[in-house]
């Protein structure tokens, strides 16, 4: 299907230049062909005070084509998206839509011009039903301009069916899992029937099956002649879905090339300007005593869950989105209630529904939804990083800013949190860098058992391998790690043992040797022949 690539721009800059490119020379790359591009950005720049988020954003989307945009965390991808959406106004550069120069002052204007945007962070109205969330401002009307709820509901069901998901159309958006939130965002964007569809990491929270459905929809939209922009940190997705790929680094355009003419190694080199260590660098660790044991854990959302984690072991918790994995670990950590079952840490039973006791016993949980559960967006990195270890840093009841900053600096540099200053507000960080702050915050507590829920969601290749190395190293030091991941290669690459869940129950427990894509997916979907 990548045959229908439009007159492609020549790949320039495929040999990575040392240092940050000025962008001026490289960005003239896409020569102007006869038909105007669906959307074109030339040398867009954008600064927030001292921070230059974008130096020379250049991008050319053709109708009937899916275009990938990749780059490290903080490369400026989301900033570019927000300029396309009209949320930010560019400082300089050209923005053409169908050959016409445009100047969006608000997201309403870009929407009216036929651009639909899925932002990196879901932006839903928690009190309203998912149906209303999808159709807000464009609800179908009947006589007297009244909203036709029945028609709206039907349309929502139609969208869910097209996406192959089961979400109750009348339920409020509050309490949706992060994956379901993402799905609502996708439904919203599709229902706009836009000429240009921009998706900023739509798959970060989704697992295989949902991703496949999204891709099917994306391909159908492409074949209808729409232009799509797809941002992802997963290379397999970029290669499976996209026709063309643009790479950005440090806010600047690096190169655009047809997907057929490039490979992962080349892209990674363009992205980071150097070679990256191998992904999933699993070290052999000595597997020791059992640290965490969960028996018969049952709640309305899951039933009879047994699992254990030993010292030095990485246990992968695989399954489809909605299989109940996050719910189980939340119950284990004491955030949510459970009806029956026991949790023991190092042989001692843990009181249910008491996260403080869980932390004291040596558990740490890096949650899935960083916005709602992991970060305080309005405060500084240092504050966030040290929040969980405040009592440790406190001397005679006083927490000095110096102590806070020092502890923060260690972790920030270890995870390469790219930020000009530790006293910057976390809310202004790129999505991936926010994720790193959450991870660092919990690693700083020195836990015995680390539970991580999608630890590399939205994290770029370089840091991903760093996170994997770190987890592996922690296991080597005797930590037990329970890792939820929807990325199959990550589970298979990292885990000593894989536990698979489906519909709230454990359906398989596989040793490293027995775990392969087929065995995990068949346990996750419940059928060997599942599509």
């Amino acid at each position: 299907m990548p045959d229908d690539i439009p007159p492609a721009a020549p790949a320039t800059g495929s040999t990575p230049s040392a240092g940050a490119p000025s962008g001026a020379a490289a960005s003239t790359a896409p020569a102007a062909p006869s038909a105007p591009a669906a959307l074109e950005l030339r040398d867009i720049s954008k600064a927030f005070g001292q921070v230059i988020a974008l130096r020379s954003g250049t991008l050319r989307l053709e109708s009937g084509s899916i275009h990938a945009l990749i780059g490290e965390n903080g490369a400026g991808k989301s900033t570019l998206v927000k300029i396309i959406a009209g949320l930010y106004q560019r400082d300089a550069g050209e923005f053409l839509l169908g050959g016409e120069s445009v100047d969006f002052r608000s997201t309403a204007e870009s929407k009216a011009a036929g651009i639909a945007v899925i932002y990196q962070e879901p932006t839903l109205f928690p009190d309203l039903s998912v149906t209303e969330n999808i159709f807000m401002g464009r609800q179908p009307l009947k006589g007297l301009r009244r909203i036709d709820r029945a028609a709206m509901r039907e349309q929502a069901l139609g969208l869910f069916q097209r996406l192959g998901v089961r979400i109750h159309p009348d339920r409020p958006a509050r309490g949706l899992s992060i994956a379901d939130q993402q799905i609502i965002e996708i439904a919203k964007a599709i229902s706009l029937d836009a000429r240009v569809l921009v998706m900023d990491e739509p798959t970060a929270a989704l697992s295989g099956v949902e991703v496949d459905r999204l891709f099917a929809v994306a391909r159908a939209l492409r074949d209808e002649g729409r232009a799509l922009l797809f941002i992802s940190h997963r290379f397999d997705e970029v290669f499976a879905l996209c026709d063309t790929v643009t790479v950005m680094r440090d806010g600047a355009y690096i190169a655009t090339q047809p997907i057929a003419e490039t490979d992962t190694a080349k892209l990674v080199r363009q992205m980071v300007g150097r070679d990256v260590a191998e992904l999933f660098p699993k070290q052999e660790a000595v597997i020791g005593d059992e640290l965490l044991r969960v028996e018969g854990l049952t709640s309305p959302l899951f039933a009879d869950v047994d699992l254990s984690v030993r010292s030095g072991e990485i246990v992968g918790l695989a399954g489809l989105v909605g299989a109940g994995r996050s719910e189980v670990v939340r119950a284990v950590f004491g955030v949510d209630r459970y009806d029956s079952g026991t949790v023991t840490v190092e042989g001692r039973a843990l009181a249910p529904h008491d996260p403080t006791a869980a932390m004291r016993a040596g558990l740490a949980l890096v949650p899935e939804d960083r916005r709602a559960q992991g970060l305080v967006l309005g405060t500084t990195v240092a504050r966030n990083l040290t929040m969980a270890i405040r009592s440790k840093l406190t001397k005679a009841g006083i927490l000095t800013r110096a102590a806070e900053n020092q502890a923060a600096r260690v972790w920030a540099s270890r995870l390469e949190v790219k930020s000009s200053a530790l006293d910057a507000e976390v809310g202004t960080f790129s999505g991936g860098n926010q994720q790193k702050v959450v991870l660092a915050k919990w690693l700083a507590t020195n836990p015995k058992v680390l539970i991580v829920d999608e630890p590399t969601r939205g994290i770029d290749v370089g840091t991903k391998s760093e996170v994997h190395r770190l987890l592996s190293e922690l296991a080597g030091q005797g930590l037990g790690i329970l890792m939820i991941s929807s990325e199959l290669p990550e589970v298979l690459g990292m885990a000593d043992r894989v536990i698979v869940m489906r519909e709230g129950r454990v359906t398989a427990e596989l040793s490293r040797a027995d775990a392969n894509p087929e065995s995990v997916m068949s346990a996750a979907t419940g059928a060997g022949a599942a599509a």
Partner: protein, 343 residues
Amino acid sequence: MSAATTSFARRGVLGRLSALAAARETGIFLALVLVLVVTTAKSPSFLFSADGFRDLLLTPSTLVLIAVGQAIVIITRNVDLSVGSIIGLTAYLTGVLFKYNPGLPIPVVMLLAVLFGAGLGLVNGVLVSVAKVPSLVITLGTLYAYRGINVVWTGSNRINASDMPRDFLAIGTAKLWVLPVITLIAVVVLVIAALVLRSSRSGRELYAIGSDPDAAHLYGLKVGRRVLWAFVASGTLAGLAGVLYTARYGTVDSQAGYGLELQAVGAAVIGGVAIFGGSGSVGGAALGAVLLLTINRALPVLGIPDFWQGAVVGVLIIAAIILDRLLALRQARKLTVMEDSAA
């Protein structure tokens, strides 16, 4: 069609009934019935007398108007503390217009006073949406500012019934069949507001804005403009309440409407309008207003001393908020279970 379309079938009769039973409005209504039954049992004339029945409907009518306005504002995650002062100013303006311009037709005077209320609401709205200062602060400021203007303007003056046309004052006591006209006006306003909030695009946008203002901005909703109109609506209804206040009581001094803003907020909260915006209905707020004032009238009948009345209202508000939390939690649990078992 396929499973997805059939399994989330529309609610049947039973579903509708259970939704009705779960609705906050039903709870308030039942509480109201309870208060009426208990009080009437003790003193039958509380309900079964011409005066008793009239007071039941008439007393809360002005509060219903401003509670509806308040609900509209609170749904957008704002609050309008100036409504009591707007009532004061518009009530006095009504009297002054009649007193010094006897030639003006009654409807013109009423319209001018309502428009004046709208103007005062517009000032609130502009300040909130342009200055980007929380509405709590802005309207606390205008609460004092408007009242201050009122005091300066009125001085020790007082408008009396004799200053106003008889036909105007008749509105305060007139009835259509058994229903007081003022109550009818409140009901008409309520129905219109309920329709707009439930079934119009702009009404739903108010909920979206209150539910998450940042998301609303990102979505491209005109947050500032909608919030501004919510304040205009609140001011307009307060203006109308001011006019009706004058018609009903016949005398106006500089303290008309004093303290009503807190009753309006209380009524809305009791009626299930979430103080952080995004949910609730004007119908609930109206029922809250009726319950609040009916309890106030019932307590002396039941022999409960004056000074307990404030405490009862306080308990009611706190109970309403706790009830909301519990219901929300249960609802969230139920939905997740429902989806999971359907999968």
